[in-house]
Structure formats: C-alpha cells, structure tokens
C-alpha cells in the first residue's frame, strides 16, 4: 500500500503536533533526574489529497474510455473488462468513498451549511458523470460505477419485469433522492451512504445489517438486472433525465434497423423499445380526456404531497441528532422517561441551557417543515408526470434503446445481425495474411 507516504506525513505532522501542544501554557512535567525524555505522540496522516486528484483524473479517463467503447467500439467484452477495472480501482482500491452518488449530498450540504464546503475533487466526482451523460448517454453506469459493476457481475439468469412494475418501483428512487437531499440540506444525515448496500463489500468490512442488505441485493441481482441502479439509485434518477437529451445516443444497430426482432429479449434491463403501431381509434378521445384530467391533477398532486411532506416534519426531523436530543431531554424533564441516556448525560455535562436546546431544535424542525414542502412537492410532481407520460405517445418505427433506462451495457449489440455483417466487413477489409511454407516438395523433385 502507500505506507511510505504515511510515514513521511506522520513525521511532518508529529513535528506540527509538538508545536501545538507546547505552544499552550501547561503544568510543568515532573523533573526527571534519569534524563528520561517524553515521547511525542505520533499522528499518522490521512490519505493524501494528491490521491484525490489522481482519482478524479482516473474517473475522467475511465468515463472517456467507457464512452469510446460504448459508442465507437461497440464490444460487450471490452465494456465488461472496463467494468472490472472500475470495480477494482474505484471499488476495492479506493474503497468507494466519495462516490458520485454520495457526492449529491456533499454538494447539497455545501449550499445549506456555510460551515461546510465541498472539496473540488468531490464536486468533480459529482459533475463529470452528469456532463458525460449529457453528451454520451449513461456510459458511467455502463462501465465506471463500481456499484453498477458489482451488480452486473452477479447477473446470471436475467428475468424481464413487466414495464408497469418497473415504472412503479422506480418511484422509490425519486422518493429516495428527495429524502437524501432533504436530510443532507438540513445537515441531519447522509442516508445514501448510511444505507449503501455494496460499499461494505468493497471494504471487505462493515456492519452486519448492511452486509445482509448487500447480500440480499446481490441475490436479487442474480435474477433481476441491477436492482439498485434501476429502482433505488438517486443519482440514476438524475442521469435518466440527462440521458434523454444526450447528444450521442446508444443505438442497438450500427445502421438502420431491419426489425428482425432478434434483439427483443436481449436487454436484461427492459430498455429496448419496440416499434409502435398507430393508436386504436376507439381509445383516442377517451385518452385525450384522460390526458386533460391528468394535467389538471398535476398541481393538485404537487400541493397535496408538499403538504404531506410538511406535516411529516415531526417524523423526519427526528433524523437530526439535535431534535432527538431535545425530545429525549424533554421526556426526561417531564418525567415521561425514566433514567438518562449517554446523550442526555453528555448534554447536561456541557451545562448548556435546556431552553436554548429547545429553541435550536424548534428552528431545525421548522426547516424540516419547509424542506418537507419542497421534497413532497417534488415527489408529487414526479408522480403526476409519471401518470401523464404513458398517455403521450410518439411514433417509433424502429427498435430503439430507451435512452432513459439504457445502461449502455452493450449486451444488445451482438444480437443485431447488422452488427455482425459490419464486423465481417471490417475483417474483409484487413484480411489475415497467411504464411505459407514455400514448396519444399518441388525442390526435392528438382534434386532428383
């Protein structure tokens, strides 16, 4: 590992530390006659900042390469190898933190907490994949995200889910995103990291519950492709939207589709859209009315869910340690709770005024009230749109990848006959030179 680096830093820091401790006026130590010298406490340094920058560079390179493989090279095997590399580097070597998914929270917090400011590297970790997606679709998910990779590896027996179930389940990801942002903004918790199911595998270490959770995910992942990415990942939610408007898209076929239907079942993530037919006439007016109704419903849903989010304040705000403490103290003071907890003892030890604690807690709660409105409103909006979208229809004549949910894994490429013919052509353009052993027999003949 990087022990030498540690040592150098620790030396530097131990010097630094001595200066600190001796700078303070202090009670003189015993006057040792035996010439004993006090050892100075060691302070081994953390992972160097330099490495963070290296990581960022590697991330950029990885994204670039992945994009190339997905859009130009179009070889599943190559993408797979890339994926393994990312898993090893970002996962096992770098132990997963900070990952772009978690970076959502850091960036959010830096906006709401003046005391906290997000490091540039983290910001880049957050932004790079988004920007790439904006232009080259979700190559990040394909071959850079270690969480995606670990799930993709265990996908053994893909079973396709019906679309309705998929879109229903995906709702959770939006709620998760809203919650994550809310809790990060209020400085309560980083729930994405708290409940990250795979990082403990990458660290080969972690609390039992999370290990179990991760195991469950991988188990499900054997049959349902990338469950976390599709139904839970809050970052994926953002990527979906950006991917819709990305400049270069992942295409199943290298040139025009011949509707051979061979690729139909090739996608384990249900991201292949089949050509549409004209809408049945008998349904036309009905659906039109429905659409209008749903559009009217939109603001209602937004407001009602906003309201729900706000009245949820007493529940959500308890995620914040201060509020929990205030509640506990209140219970103890009002004799509704017996005994004390470590937290309440610690608080009393500080000798702070209880009233101040209450006011602080109330302030936080009110913030949760407002945050609840926004988060809830967002969820409401999402639901409304999810209701509206199926009622809109676009004409599609070819087999296309659904840009929102396509993870650019490249599985479908090989199912396309055109792809193969293309590769064949490529082969023919550069024919293999065969080395022929020049006729020995003749010469022998001549010798005769």
């Amino acid at each position: 590992m990087i022990r030498p680096a540690y040592i150098t830093i620790s030396l530097a820091l131990s010097v630094l530390s001595c200066t600190i401790s001796s700078a303070v006026e202090r009670f003189p130590p015993p006057d040792f006659e035996s010439g004993y010298v006090q050892p100075t406490p060691t302070t081994p340094g953390p992972r160097q900042t330099m490495y963070e920058y290296i990581d960022t560079a590697v991330l950029f390179a990885a994204l670039f390469l992945a994009t190339l493989l997905v859009l130009k090279v179009r070889k599943r095997r190559a993408i797979f190898v890339m994926m393994i590399f990312s898993l090893v580097y970002f996962g096992f070597w770098r132990k997963g933190c900070v990952c772009p998914i978690g970076a959502i929270q850091n960036v959010t917090l830096s906006f709401f907490d003046p005391g906290y400011s997000v490091p540039i590297t983290t910001t880049l970790f957050f932004l790079l994949p988004l920007i790439f997606t904006l232009f080259f679709a979700r190559s990040f998910c394909a071959a850079v995200c270690p969480l995606g990779a670990i799930q993709d590896l265990v996908l053994l027996r893909p079973t396709s889910l019906p679309q309705w179930l998929e879109s229903g389940l995906r709702l959770f990801a939006y709620v998760y995103l809203a919650a994550a942002v809310l809790f990060a903004a209020t400085g309560s918790a980083f729930i994405i990291c708290r409940y990250d199911p795979f990082v403990s595998f990458l660290r080969l270490n972690g609390s039992l519950n999370i290990l179990i959770l991760g195991a469950c995910f991988l188990f499900i992942g054997m049959f349902i492709g990338r469950p976390y990415c599709r139904f839970i990942c809050p970052y994926g939610v953002i990527l979906r939207q950006l991917s819709r408007i990305s400049k270069w898209k992942v295409t199943i076929t290298p040139d025009d589709c011949i509707k051979c239907r061979l690729c139909e079942d090739s996608c384990p993530f249900g991201a292949i859209k089949i050509p549409t037919e004209d809408w049945p006439a008998h349904d036309y007016n009905k659906s039109k009315r429905r659409l209008i109704f749903l559009i009217i419903l939109l603001p209602i849903l937004v407001l009602s869910f906003g309201w729900i989010g706000s009245i949820l304040q007493p529940v959500t705000s308890r995620v914040h340690a201060t509020v929990r403490l205030a509640d506990r103290i209140y219970l103890e003071e009002s004799g509704q709770a017996e005994g004390t907890t470590d937290a309440s003892d610690a608080f009393r030890a500080t000798g702070k005024d209880i009233k101040d604690l209450y006011t602080e807690a109330l302030a936080i709660q009110s913030r949760f009230g407002l945050g609840g409105w926004l988060a809830g409103g967002f969820v409401g909006l999402v639901i409304a749109l999810k209701l509206i979208v199926p009622s809109l229809r676009r004409h599609r004549s070819d087999y296309e990848a659904d840009m929102a949910s396509c993870l650019a894994c490249g599985r479908c490429f090989e199912y396309c006959p055109k792809e193969h013919s293309k590769r064949k052509q490529a082969k023919e353009e550069f024919p293999k030179r065969e080395i022929v052993r020049l006729g020995a027999p003749e010469t022998m003949g001549e010798n005769r």
């Binding site: 309705w164 709702l171 037919e277 809408w279 003071e333 009002s334 009233k355 639901i383 090989e414 199912y415």
Partner: protein, 629 residues
Amino acid sequence: MKIPTDDIHKASPLNNKVTSQWYYTAVTTAVIGGVFFLIVLELMLFNYFQRTVAEPKRADKLEELKIQLRQPLNDSQLLSHIQELDVKSIPDPNQAKQLKLLKAEFPANPQDQQLLSKIRNLYMQIRQNNIRELDLQIRQIRMRRWDFSRRGSYLLLSGVVVFLIGIKSASAYKKKLPLPQKQPDKINEQVRKAIYARWAVTVGLVILGSGALFLATRPWIDLTTTDTTATSFPTMEETSQNWPRFRGPGGLGVSNYTNIPESWNGTTGEAILWKTRVPLPGHNSPIVWGDRVFVTGADPNVRQVYCFDALSGKLLWNRPVKSPSQDTKPIDVFEDTGFAASTAVTDGRRVYAIFATGDVGCFNFEGKELWIRKLEVPDSAYGYASSLAIYRNLLLIQYDQGAADDEMSKLIALDTFTGRTVWETKRPVPNSWSSPIVVEVEAQPQIITCGDPCVIAYNPTNGTEIWRAKCLGGEIAPSPIYTAGLIIAIEPYTTMVAIRPDGRGDVTKTHIVWKSDQITPDISCPVSNGELIFLLTTEGFLTCCKTTDGTKIWEQELQKDFLASPSIVGNRLYMLSEKGVMYISEIGAEYKELARCQLGEECFASPAFMDGRIYIRAKNNLYCIGTTD
C-alpha cells in the same frame, strides 16, 4: 435488404456448441468456487457467533473472579472455600502440592495463625493464577478471531471471484440463439401497457400517501409546550388574596376578606350573581384566582377540568385529563365519593387537578395542557379524596392507600413545571382522605399530614421527615389546621389533638400540648380563629373549644347534615349544610345564629370566599353569590 438466417448463424459467435469440453471445466470451476465460498461463509458466521455469544460469557466469568478477589475473606470463609476447592482443578502442580500439604496439616493444629496466613496467601495466589490464565486465554482468542475474520473476508472474495469466472464463462459457452416469441397483437398490447403503467404509479401514490399520513398522525413531542413562566411562583400576599386550594390560603378555611354577603336566596335569585351548570359531577370545591374559577368533574370514563369566568360565570374552557397509558380499566369508587372528590390547586400560573383514578393534569390559564401524569390507581376503601397542595414549585400529593402493612402510602412531590417526580416519601399509614397543609415554623416550611396513627411533618425541599406524633386512629378524613402555633389534628368521633410543630423525630411524648375528647367530625375539617376551634360533625353537632387547652366552651345541635367544612369570615362562622342551607353564626361565648340562606340545591363541597363573593359548588351548578354594586 434481407439477410438469410443461416447466414447469421454462421456469422454469429453466439452459435457455440454446448458440447465444448471447456463448458464442463467452467461449470466445475464455478461449483468449486461456490462450495469454497459457502464453507468460508460458514466458518465466518460461526466465528461471528462465537464472538457475540461465547466470548462475553467467558469475559463475565473473569469479571466475577476479579470482584471475588477484591472481597476480603474472614478465616471461616477462607477455610470453607479451601474445602470446596478441588486440588485437581489447580493448573500449577506445586501449588496443588502445597495446598494438599496445608490441607493435611491444618486439622492437626487449627489455631495456628501462621499456618492460616500461609493458606490465605496460597489461596490468593491460586485465585490470581486462575484470573491470569483466563485473561490470557480470552485475549488470545479475541485476537485470533480478529485475524480470522480479516483473512476470511479475503477468502470469501476469492471464492466469489472463482465462482463468477466459472459461471460467466459457462453461460458464455451455453449462449442460445435468440428466438423471438410470436408477437401478441401490438395495438391492444400498447394500450394495455399504458393503462398498467398508470395503475402501477397510482398504487405507488396511494402507498406513499397513506404511509406518510400514517406516520404523520402518530403522536409526537411538541417542544413548544414547554412554557417559560415555569420557575416563578406566587408571593404569600398574592396567595392570601386568592382562594388557591381546598379551604383557601393555607388550607385553613379562613377568609382574608370580611365583606362577604350574609343573605341570599337561590330560589328567588336574590344576590345570586350567576349560576352555571357544571358538565360532570364532583364533590371538589371551587378554587379561585383573580377572575378565574376552577372546578373539576369526572365520571368513570372521563375526567375534566373546568375554568369559569368569575365575572360572567361563563365556562371559558373544559379540558379532559386523558390517561397517557391506555390500560385504564374502570375502577369502582364509593358512590358518595365519586371520581372527582379531590379539590384542584393553582399557583396563579397553572392549575393542577388529580382524580380518583390517579391521573394528574396541569393546564395553564388559557387551558393549554402542559403535562399529564398517571400515578398508579390508588387503592382506597371509599375512593381517593385527598386534595392537592403546593409549595413553591412542588405539587404535593398525599397518596395514602391500602393497609398500613402493605406500605403503598406515600407523599409525592411533582415539579409543577414538568410534572416529573422531585421526591417521594413512603408513609407508614393506611389509606386516608385527609389533605396536607404547608406551614412555616421558625421560617422553616413543613408539610403537615394526618394519617392513622401518625401526624407527620415533612421537609418540602427533599421530603425527609421532620417530626411525627403517634396520636390518631381510625379512618382519617379531616385535614389538619395550624393555628396559634399549634397543629390541630382530628381523630374521627373521639379526639382532637394539638401538637407543637417545633420538634424533631418522634415527638409523641414531648410535643403533644393537649388531647381533648370531643364529638369530633368524621369528614369535615376543624376551623379556628386563633382562640376558638369549631368542630362540626356530619350529623350537625357543633362544638366550640378553647385553642389553649382544648376544653369545650359550648356545643349546639343544628339537626342538619353537613359534608362541607365550616369556614370563618371575620367574626362569623359559615356552615353549609347538605341541603344547601348556609348557617351563619357569630363567633362568641355561645352559639348565636345570624342568618340562614337557602340555595335550593344540595351541596357537598366547601365554598370559596373571595372579595365580596362566595362561590358555592352545588350538586349540578356552580353559584356565585355577591352584591352587584
């Protein structure tokens, strides 16, 4: 253009034959990997449970041993231990040998101190050895487990990797050609899909919404209810100008006002300022602070606190005292007592009420619930009836219940701000119905309580007992009073006792000034103006005694039933009969009746006297009597 399918088949790398021997190799690799993984997992789980279950036990044992080692042994204990000690169990052989020898040697000369100390030392050493052994063992195992789980995780990983490689390549070899199924009719298909999609989202919507609402409706702590006027409490003067508790300031039944009406009539409405119906019954007396009048009422299920406007008689608010714990099975109380016999108390900031069910509630004057406490349901023969008292920030509850020997009785002090118990003192008495009073003796506050058999004084600051006098018996309902430097306590039907409250400890012998045998009340309290004490029995037998020695001056039959306690206003005695007739008599050398005033409704509760007004709680109504000008 169209490509013939066989052409595809040739071109496609998907078209591998399953028969390739690599396939089987791959499968076996996968199996090996998988099995290995499972085995390691097995071991790690075992390791984990060992660490969480087995090790703590061993560690506890170690702690035990350490504690034992610390405890001093006297000789007999030592010897018994030695006897129990099995020589074979000692790891160190020569210690075992020594012990054998000493054991053999001891019976010969048991008086030999030197020998004894030898044994002691040896035993000490043995125990120390055990501890050291065990300690070492524990720490070794702990470290081993750490290392194991560290390595184990890597093994697990490698297992998984092998498994995946195997299975992946196997599946690669076994790839099938895509065989598109026959397509259903696409038109309806896509319509159906759209509908399903909408329904799925709708279901999600419902689940989210209902779930959130469910969470939101769960009870939660509202930090805004902690009001800030908490620490302040009223001055003596403030208190004396109001009627803050059962029988007014100090609970003595003496009004500080003299401008009290002397004639009224409930039936004609003469001098009745207002009359308001009280929703629920209760034998508790009204208490008054400023322009607020409080009474409580209850039935077996509901307990309520009422606040009336003193000027108009309007019911300002009515708040239920809900039990925080749901398991309140209806209790049965003596019907004449009811569920709200205890009079509430106020400190001018908040009002406090207790009910026969043991529920205590606190509200501010605006009727905002500040806290609710649920004491255990009192075991009282006729139902709990003692009224509340207040000292500074302490709400005092005389919680006498059960028989003397089941030690359930206690005096409880709650923090008026939070409702949290400040202190609690056990009382050696059975259930009683008397109410505590707080008196100042030599600038030291005392809580005076009556019970069978003791009058006990407590220190309000910490609930410790100051003095006790063993002088009462029977079922004690009358409350004590403090007059002319004496505590007057009543034993029903028979005796009245006067105690000097400046004693310490048991003052039965030393501080009882006099005992006088009189026909004493069994329910109502005595009242005194300093020189004279008046006793009024339920049957209407009125006795007047001297405060100095308790001797009777005169007595009088009123031939009426009285439940309310008599009160003194100026030089007049007010006595409210059960029929609702107020007997007003002059205090003097003999009984001299001044007036009888009809209310026309049954009365059980003692009235409250304020500036120019009397507040009477009758059976169903609350009356305010006074002159309009």
